[in-house]
């Protein structure tokens, strides 16, 4: 069955020719490595749409396994200057964990597949063994708060933080242009309790406020409630909820009277979703300025949870995300904050290859 594999699975760099040779070696390769006792099955991840850009971009790079010197994806500046290697990207990051190199484009030592839903799903999924890694943009205990999960269970989560988000508040372009560029956190609370319902109360035009939110169970929602209202289960009543960040972003762009909380990666300062400043205890937190600050209550860690420890395969991939290359390419370029040096060090230790020798 090599043929159909070639055509269906061949990631042939945009051209449909020459994909035939790809399929067969995959099989031999994975056969060999599975016989050598390494787990080469697909690494699955699911969960937060906030973390998704990080893990998914990581997975794309990983699965593509570009050769060193591929200026777009694994440039010399990184490969030879930073890491001093001429190996392919995934081959290189996997070798320390005992994986054999494949030496082929689009054939990583093991594949990674990242699904997309909410943080809640990721946390549930990793807990029930449905996926290897659970992406979450809120802490697991906040996600699971109120669902009667015991502390012993919570202890089985292994937390890996892969990036930091400074959740901004955004409004529709028209509102921003009409002069509402900053509100206080109390006003924000009132909006989401339906106590302020018209923009004129905030110095804007005479228009109803369309308070948008994310689905319950999404990390963004949980974090928002936790950070703004002080309780992950605080009752808030937005006018409308959306499944994922993107849908939310689109909706804000479509209308002329919306406000929303969203992940950094989805802010368009000059586009349809301009961020506004949030004043807390006299300090104004602004996009591009101080959202990453520890004091900004809406800033939050982006987690990649594993269950009951971390397996070699999981560690290998998370380490890839935590590498300097990963932080720069997957976190920073997606508009999130890289982990500070010291935190990076602790996180890397948790998944260091030495744990798996």
């Amino acid at each position: 069955g090599g043929q159909s594999g070639g055509s269906s699975g061949g990631e042939s760099g945009g051209s449909s020719g020459g994909s035939e040779s790809d399929g067969t070696p995959t099989q031999t390769e994975s056969n060999d490595s599975s016989s050598s006792g390494m787990d080469t099955s697909v690494l699955t991840a699911d969960g937060s749409s906030t973390v998704f850009p990080i893990t998914n971009t990581g997975a794309s790079y990983w699965n593509s396994n570009p050769e060193a010197g591929d200026e777009d994806y694994w440039p010399q500046s990184w490969a030879s200057e930073e890491y001093d290697t001429d190996m392919r990207l995934a081959d290189f990051f996997a070798q320390d964990y005992g994986y054999e190199s494949t030496g082929q484009r689009s054939v990583p030592p093991f594949r990674a597949s990242v699904a997309l839903s909410h943080s809640g799903t990721g946390v549930e999924g990793v807990m029930e063994g449905r996926v290897d890694i659970g992406d979450s943009s809120a802490p697991a205990q906040a996600e699971l708060a109120g669902s009667g999960v015991s502390d012993a269970t919570l202890d089985k989560f292994t937390d890996h933080v892969v990036g930091v988000d400074g959740q901004p508040i955004v409004v529709s372009r028209e509102i921003y242009d009409a002069g509402v560029t900053q509100i206080t956190i109390e006003q924000l609370r009132q909006i989401y309790r339906q106590e302020i319902t018209n923009w004129s109360e905030l110095g804007g035009p005479d228009r109803e406020i369309l308070a948008l939110g994310r689905a319950e169970g999404s990390g963004t929602d949980t974090a928002f409630r936790n950070n703004v209202f002080g309780d992950p289960n605080a009752p808030i009543s937005p006018d409308q909820r959306f499944g994922q960040n993107q849908q939310l972003q689109q909706a804000i762009g479509q209308v002329d009277n919306a406000i929303a909380y969203i992940a950094l990666a989805f802010v368009e300062p000059d586009g349809a979703t301009p961020p506004i400043g949030l004043e807390i205890d006299g300090t104004v937190y602004e996009y591009g300025n101080n959202l990453g600050a520890q004091e900004y209550p809406l800033s939050r860690d982006l987690h990649a949870y594993t269950w009951e420890g971390t397996s070699r395969k999981e560690a290998c991939f998370i380490n890839f995300l935590l590498s300097d290359f990963g932080q720069e390419t997957f976190v920073a370029s997606n508009n999130y904050f890289k982990l500070p040096k010291d935190r990076l060090r602790t996180e890397r230790e948790k998944v260091a290859p030495s744990n798996f020798s």
């Binding site: 799903t121 549930e124 009667g148 689905a215 169970g217 409308q240 479509q254």
Partner: protein, 366 residues
């Protein structure tokens, strides 16, 4: 009373005994053994599967082996046995669905009792282990009613047009065309609804949210329309030609014939078509999921279809099914149960109506 039950039971028992005896006499020993082995291995496979055992494969292989050997020796008996098994499997799937939905919804019923279906006070969903399906039931009712208002009259008009009015040429184009429409995936309708219709209503009519019951209901109605047309048209075209000729030969117009003879004679089939359409509308998930606002509450007044609240029984399952657990998940299963029974009632009703039609008209060729 008791006695009649008893006589009935003995009657049934003796009938079963006769059946068993006949079966025993008519079937060869080998075939009997084969049936026994097949039945046994299926049962074992099912029990193992229920427990999630990896050994499930063994009885399945045994069943296969029995079948292969049986095929060579007792083909006719084997086929009879196998087809019986498939029938049982079909019925079991439905029973399994019912059982599992009920089992998994038991915790929330234990927690909430009847208020699961009647609670109207805050909190409605998620706080303090309270999960009330009431807002979603209202939502389902609203979208279904709107969809029915669209689909039923237009669907019947379409059916009448296709079967009674359209010239034959046109009919040969329109009928398959409408059937094709029935095949358009609902997610596609949802995409259009989301990007076009929601947007239109929001900008032109300043609806409180982007997307509401009105928009979703209309989209679902359009979606159910081809089903109604198709089924109702089938019913209309089975009205015997002799009845229509009878009317025409007395000098009534085609339209009078349609109104006074054809539609009344096909009424049960037509209403079965409408009920089927209503069932589809009620169970429709994707379009509503992408179009509604996913906030739970009661519109005031209750017929305010432009309300900012927007959640139905189906959308809540699709929207939250992925990340629910514990009581929350159980509540979603309860939503499934409510949905299932509502649709089941519709299905049985439409079957009953159709059955009535058959007895009333004395079979198809009355």
């Amino acid at each position: 009373m008791l006695q009649s039950i008893q006589t009935r039971a003995t009657h049934e028992l003796s009938a079963a005994a006769t059946f068993a005896r006949n079966y025993r006499v008519r079937t060869e020993d080998g075939a009997l053994l084969m049936h026994l082995l097949g039945g046994l291995s299926t049962a074992v496979a099912f029990v193992l599967f229920l427990q999630g055992s990896q050994w499930t494969i063994v009885p399945i292989l045994a069943l296969l082996a029995t079948a292969v050997i049986g095929w060579r020796r007792y083909q006719a008996e084997l086929v009879k046995g196998l087809t019986f098994l498939t029938t049982v499997a079909t019925v079991s799937i439905l029973s399994l669905i019912i059982v599992f939905l009920l089992l998994r919804s038991a915790p929330i019923v234990a927690e909430m009792g009847l208020s699961l279906l009647t609670r109207t006070g805050q909190p409605l969903w998620g706080q303090n282990d309270v999960y009330a399906l009431t807002p979603m039931m209202i939502g389902t009712a609203l979208t279904t009613v709107i969809a029915t208002i669209i689909a039923a009259p237009l669907g019947i008009a379409g059916a009448v047009f296709v079967s009674e009015i359209a010239p034959r040429r046109l009919r040969e184009v329109v009928k398959p065309g409408i059937e094709l429409m029935a095949g358009i995936p609902s997610i596609t309708y949802g995409f259009i609804g989301l990007t076009i219709f929601n947007q239109y209503l929001y900008t032109e009519f300043r609806t409180p949210t982007i997307g509401n019951y009105f928009a979703a209901g209309i989209m679902i109605g359009i979606m159910a329309l081809p089903t109604v047309v198709s089924v109702a048209e089938d019913a209309l075209s089975t009205v015997p030609e002799s009845m229509q000729s009878g009317s025409l030969a007395m000098g009534s117009t085609n339209w009078q014939t349609t109104k006074s003879v054809t539609i009344p004679a096909a009424l049960s089939g037509v209403s079965a078509g409408v009920l089927l359409g209503v069932g589809r509308a009620m169970g429709e998930t994707m379009a509503a999921t992408v179009m509604l606002s996913h906030t739970k509450g009661f519109p005031t007044p209750v017929f305010d279809v432009f309300t900012n609240y927007g959640e139905t029984l189906t959308t809540v399952i699709a929207f939250e099914g992925g990340n629910a657990s514990g009581l929350h998940m159980s509540a979603l299963f309860a939503a499934g149960v409510v949905l299932f029974f509502m649709v089941m009632v519709l299905s049985v009703t439409s079957q009953w109506i159709e059955w009535r039609m058959h007895t009333k008209l004395g079979g198809e060729n009355a």
